[in-house]
Structure formats: C-alpha cells, structure tokens
C-alpha cells in the first residue's frame, strides 16, 4: 500500500497528493487549466471521442498541447471513449500512432476494441478506462487491470466509503469525478437519446434527454405530475468540495473535473479553487478547516445547481434537478490579460464581455491571487480612448495600477 501521509517537522502532511485533472475544450482552455493548477488535462480529439463534435484539437493542436503541458510539468490525456459500432472500426491504428508520437500521456477508452488495438499498436501508451464503463467494484477494476488498464475512472454512483473500500483492493490507479455535469443514469447504460432522437449517447450524441420535461402517469392514466406540471429525471451537477479531504485520505490517484464545453472563466475558477483546497489540506491536514472561501469562490463560475452526487450515499431528492428556474447568474467574465507594461501601468487585455468605464472588477490569477479595481481608462489598440468595450475579443488597453500577468482573468464583482 502506498504511503498517503508522513510526519515532517512533527507535523502530519499528505505525501501522496492526488492529481488534479481538468477538462479542456480547446488549446486556450488547456493552457488556462494548466496555469491555474491542473496537474493533468484531458482533451477530446476529432475522432473516437464522445466530445468529438465539440473538439478543436487537430493532431497539431494535440502536439502543441503536449509541448505546453510538458513545459509546465503537466500531463495530457486524450479521450477515445466511444463504444464503437462496426462502421467505426477503421483508421484507429493510424490515429493512435499519431497520438503516441505527439507524446500524450494516456488515452481514456471504454471499448475493448480500442483497448486491444492500443495494446497492439502503441503498447507503451498508458490506458485509462473511461467512466462510460460504470465501474463500481474492485473485481471489475482488477479484471481491467489484468487487461493492461493502468487507471480506472470510477462510476459516479459511488459513496466516499465505497471509494475507500475499492481503493484498498484495486490493482489499478483510481480516478474519481469531483466536479461538473453528471449523468443521472449509470454512464454508458443510457440510450434515452438513441431512442428519442436517434443520436447515440455512447458515440457522442447524447441530447440530454434526461433533462427534458416529462409528465408522469400512473398505470391507470392518472396524471401524477400536475402539482409541479412536469417530471424530470435529471441530476444536479456534482460539486465535491466537502469530500475532498476524505478523498485525499483514501489515497485515490486522480480527482477529475468535468466540462470540456465550459468557458475559461469556469475552468480557471474551478481549477483554481480545487488547487487551493487540495494544497491547503495536504500541507496541514490535521488543522485544515473547510471554510466558506472555497464554496464562495466556486459559485462565482457556476450557474447550475450543485450537489454532492452519490458521495454521501444514495442520492435523495436533494440531488435531483427539477426544472425550477433557479439558475444563479455567474459573475461576468469580461476579459483576459495578455500582457502588462509596468512602466506605463497599462495592461493589454482581450475583451470577452461588454463592460464600461467605472466598472468594478476583480482580477484573479493562478495561485488564488485576487485584486480589485474600478476601471478608469479604456483604450483601443491604437490608444484611442473609449468608454465602452463592446467588441468581442477586441484587444484593449486598460490602466491597472498593480502588476498583472498573462492568463489573469478579469470579471465584474458581483452586485449584492
């Protein structure tokens, strides 16, 4: 059994810090995730991936991702996690060879065809088993370990106690979801979308049919959902902050954030918060206090209702998402810093949302750094002064009296 903690200077510390694994929908998000503290990122290529539709990663982008990640000591995993049909059984070998030569650290797969092909074609490429296989016990994990799987992403149906028990018996490394959208069904076992829209959920087509509005009837046609007007199957998003200490103590190997479709505002905030939480806990677990800071910070990026999923045990009505319109607005993301001129105290930024002079903003960066400011002057690239930043992705100059860095993010402070 691997050592999880140790005593340094008479103080217990965590020596086995789990990996923080973040999603990245494109190269910019990948860089943000890594800058804000992810130890590894997962991306979907344009083929064989459940998010292929939304993928911006060509082989060249993957190469660049790996280069950037290596430079920052981070890892890159590529999802090849479809459950293939006969028509998808071609061209995999060349694709896997390409991924391998890009230097990716692992692929995340679910179909034995992909696993077998990878073992044959790229025997040195690490294989992770996707959560699509809904693995819920150590014997199943050990089955896959014997098949050459290095790491298993657990099903999202498990409590912290189950995860602990599994971890103590599993031969493969264990990855656990801690944040993001989740299936209400056992993953990989839902074909609502296939049946209702012809879109194959196990090949990247899920139409989120579980979130649609239904009416519920008794067998004698009595309508049971008239009180609310509708019935939903869906789940709140996962948010595992309260369980991070337990997960760290259980010795799991990787903590995973979901959301390859999310914005850089979301990625930077969520990754930054979990980074801080993990570091704070590991350095002094016995005096760690789970204060509101973490919850408050993450809520700035989160507009969907969250819950702890199954981590506390079988989900109740509190973990369900009924289509009551309760989405909270997120704090608005207005720009990202590209550079800073220390002499002139002028930051170059890329605009992401409408803002005006006089706006109160929060600027935050990697390492949980935060500063506040009221925007006094805005210029365009030719240094013409403007009052309103209204063009998406326009490069602007703004006066900032303290030092900021590339990748720092500017968002409006929340009106209370």
């Amino acid at each position: 059994m691997e050592k999880i903690d140790g005593i340094i200077n008479n103080k217990r510390v965590i020596v086995k810090k789990p990996e923080l694994l973040a999603p990245a929908g494109d190269l910019e998000k990948l860089k943000i995730a890594i800058m804000y503290g992810a130890d590894a990122v997962f991306i979907g290529g344009k083929e064989f991936s459940l998010r292929a539709r939304a993928s911006n990663f060509s082989i060249n982008d993957i190469k660049e991702s790996v280069r950037f990640a290596k430079e920052h000591n981070a890892k890159v995993y590529v999802t090849t996690n479809i459950i293939a049909h006969n028509e998808n059984l071609f061209h995999l070998e060349a694709y896997l060879s390409d991924l391998y030569s890009c230097g990716v650290d692992a692929i995340i797969c679910a179909d034995p065809f992909i696993i077998e092909t990878a073992k044959r074609v790229v025997p040195n490429l690490e294989l992770h088993l996707s959560t699509q296989q809904s693995t819920t016990n150590s014997e199943a994990i050990n089955f896959w370990f014997d098949e050459g799987i290095k790491r298993v992403v657990l099903a999202r149906e498990l409590s912290v106690d189950e995860i602990k028990a599994i971890k103590s018996k599993a031969k493969a490394d264990i990855e656990v979801f801690i944040h993001g959208g989740m299936c209400v069904s056992y993953s990989g076992r839902c074909t609502l979308s296939n049946n209702m829209t012809d879109r194959d959920a196990n090949r990247g087509g899920c139409a989120h049919s579980c979130r649609w509005n239904y009416r519920l009837y008794a067998n004698d046609d009595e309508m049971l959902s008239d009180k609310l007007g509708y019935y939903n199957l869906s789940s709140k998003d996962l948010m595992a902050i309260p369980f991070i200490p337990d997960l760290i103590e259980s010795g799991v190997d990787s903590l995973k954030i979901e959301g390859r479709m999310k914005s850089i505002h979301y990625i930077s905030t969520v990754v930054g918060t979990y980074r801080k939480l993990i570091d704070d806990y590991c350095i002094d677990p016995d005096h760690f206090v789970l204060n509101n800071l973490y919850f408050d910070e993450i809520s700035k990026a989160e507009n969907r209702l969250t819950s702890v999923g199954a981590l506390a045990g079988k989900p109740t009505e509190n973990e369900q998402l009924y289509n009551v319109r309760t989405e909270k607005p997120t704090q608005e993301f207005i720009g990202i810093v590209k550079g800073y001129d220390e002499i002139k105290q002028i930051a170059t930024i890329e605009q992401r949302n409408y803002f005006t002079k006089g706006e109160k903003v929060e600027i935050y960066g990697p390492g949980f750094m935060k500063q506040f400011l009221t925007i006094s002057e805005i210029f365009d690239e030719e240094f013409n002064e403007i009052d309103v930043a209204r063009h998406p992705r326009q490069i602007l100059k703004i006066k900032i009296p303290f030092k900021v860095y590339p990748y720092d993010i500017i968002r409006k402070t929340r009106e209370l």
Binding site: P112, T136, A140
Partner: protein, 310 residues
C-alpha cells in the same frame, strides 16, 4: 437452430411451457429487470422440471455490483457452481473475475445491455473463454448479421420485448414525490408508471425497484420477420422478454415464434410465405404491447469523426 430463450412472467408459466429452448431465471437480489423473480428453491424445482423436458436454464446475475455486494455475489456463484445450470448471465465484469474461482467462466453469458456493439468487442469476450455474448439492441440488423456472420462465439439478441433505455441507481419516483413533500412518497415504488415527454406522444414505462429506476421503450422490439436472417448469419439465440406481459400474452408470443422457427426448419419458403401471418397473429393477441423494429433499420448518428454530421 436458433435457440428460443424466455424470460418468464411466473413460476406457472415455466412449469407449463415446453415450447421454448431455455428460460432465464433469477433472484431479485442478483438480477435486473426480470419480469418475475424467483426464490432459490423455486429455481431448483424448475430446473428439474426443465431438465426433463430438455430445456436449458440460464441464471441471471446481471446486476451492477457495488463493492459491498461482492461477497454476496461470490457466495451465490459458489452455490450456483453446485447446480447443473447451462449458463450465467452477467453484465458486470467483476462477476467474471469471481466466476474464475469456481470454474464457471465457460458458463458465462455477457450481457451488459449497451456495450457490445461491434465484432471486435465480441472477439475480445470470445477470447475470454465465456460461453455466449448478448449483443446490444441499439444496432442495426445489418450490424447484428455482420457480427453473427463472423462466428466468433455464440451470440444472442433480444427477439421480442421492451428496450430498457435508462437505468439510474436513484429512486427517481420516490425522490420526486419527496420533493413534492407528498406523504405517500413511497407509494409508487415497484409500481409500473409511465412517462410522456412534453413534445412527444410515446408512453415510456418507468419502474423503480430495489436497483434504482428503469425506463423502457413504449413498444416491444419484434424480430419475427428476420429469423431466417438470424439463422443464416449464425445468431445462436433470441430472447423473448416477459416484462410488462401477462402469462397469457407471453405464452401466445412464444407460440408464434416457436411456430415460425419450426416452419423454417421444415421449409424456409414456408416460413417466408407465412411472415405476414405471424405478424397478424401477434397483432391479434389480446392486450399485446405495440411492437416495432427498434433499431434494426434505424441507424443512430455518430457524432465523432472528421465529418461527424449534425
């Protein structure tokens, strides 16, 4: 010649039906979505009856196994290893690992519902030394036949029955009524309800039981017209699922499939000529659930690939 496998609706039905080649029997704590659950004693009794009639018995141990259930499954497999059963249906690969201990691997039938959708995957499980693989019902007839024609291992598929299309561990009916603060929140546990989506008309049965919540298709998949193709492409068996059926409805359905297979055996042309008749007979069964061709001719959209459509 195409094994006719039935997931039965009652003890009585098994006791009295000699028309099929095999039954799937299971206990509630080890299996999922069976039309009827049996006790161990009943299974043993029925086994003896069926053996005398040369019918096979497959035991369903197809639940998704959580860590604290491994012991229970282990003990059950040990118990099953003392019985003269013909197969064990499983959907969780943990069961495979446990079955090794009891030399049961060659009895295993892998049915994970949605995961086996291509012949390479079938080949992977064939190499694991198991007995049979049940392929997914979400693929087209052409794909089913292509997989069968590879003759990698015995294959079975759903022949007639509802498509289960959703399984959550959660009590999604009870949770809903708790959310509504309904005092009788548990009232509908184990009761068959149905859902209708806002802009659709289909009625999807929804059932909450001790394994969570299941949602099914409105109609039953019906494959009576394709039995010749199955046979010619080496599909080994078809399953008739009793879920949402009475004994009588199920018996009637079994009779028609039995007749169709026997007709084919006598004379392929006879079977072909009678296809319309079988369908008519199915339709004439009182109260029969509506049926359709499922995914046999409905190719689902693959979102991946360089040119992924939509």
């Amino acid at each position: 010649m195409l094994e006719l496998i039935v997931s039965p609706t009652s003890y009585n039905l098994v006791e009295n039906c000699d028309l099929c080649d095999a039954f799937i029997l299971g206990e509630e704590q080890y299996s999922l979505r069976l039309a009827h659950y049996f006790s161990f004693e009943e299974i043993v009794d029925l086994m003896n009856i069926c053996k005398n009639r040369k019918q096979k018995i497959y035991i369903a141990v197809n639940k998704i196994v959580h860590e604290d259930e491994l012991d229970k499954i282990d003990k059950y497999l040990s118990k099953l290893s003392g019985l003269d059963i013909d197969g064990i249906i499983f959907g969780d690969l943990g069961v495979y690992n446990l079955a090794r201990k009891y030399n049961l691997v060659n009895k295993l039938i892998y049915n994970p519902e949605t995961y086996v959708t291509n012949y390479e995957s079938v080949e992977f499980f064939a190499k694991k030394g198991i007995k049979k693989v049940s392929i997914a019902k979400e693929i087209t007839l052409d794909d089913v036949l292509l997989i069968g024609s590879k003759e990698l291992i015995d294959i079975d598929i759903l022949g007639h029955g509802a498509l289960n299309m959703f399984h959550s561990m959660r009590d999604l009916v009870t949770n809903y009524f708790k959310f509504l603060k309904d005092e009788n929140a548990n009232k509908y546990h184990n009761e068959q309800l149905y859902l209708i989506e806002e802009i659709r008309e289909e009625k999807y049965p929804i059932l909450e039981d001790q394994n969570g919540t299941h949602v099914f298709s409105e109609k039953d998949l019906c494959t009576i017209k394709y039995l010749d193709k199955f046979i010619e492409n080496h599909i080994y068996g078809i399953r008739i699922d009793g879920i949402f059926k009475s004994d009588e409805e199920l018996i009637n359905i079994i009779e028609i499939y039995r007749l169709a297979i026997n007709d084919y055996r006598l004379n392929k042309q006879l079977y072909i000529d009678k296809k319309a008749k079988y369908l008519e007979n199915l339709e004439n069964i009182e109260n029969i659930r509506p049926f359709y061709e499922g995914f046999l001719f409905k190719k689902t959209i693959y979102k991946g690939g360089e040119n992924g459509k939509n």
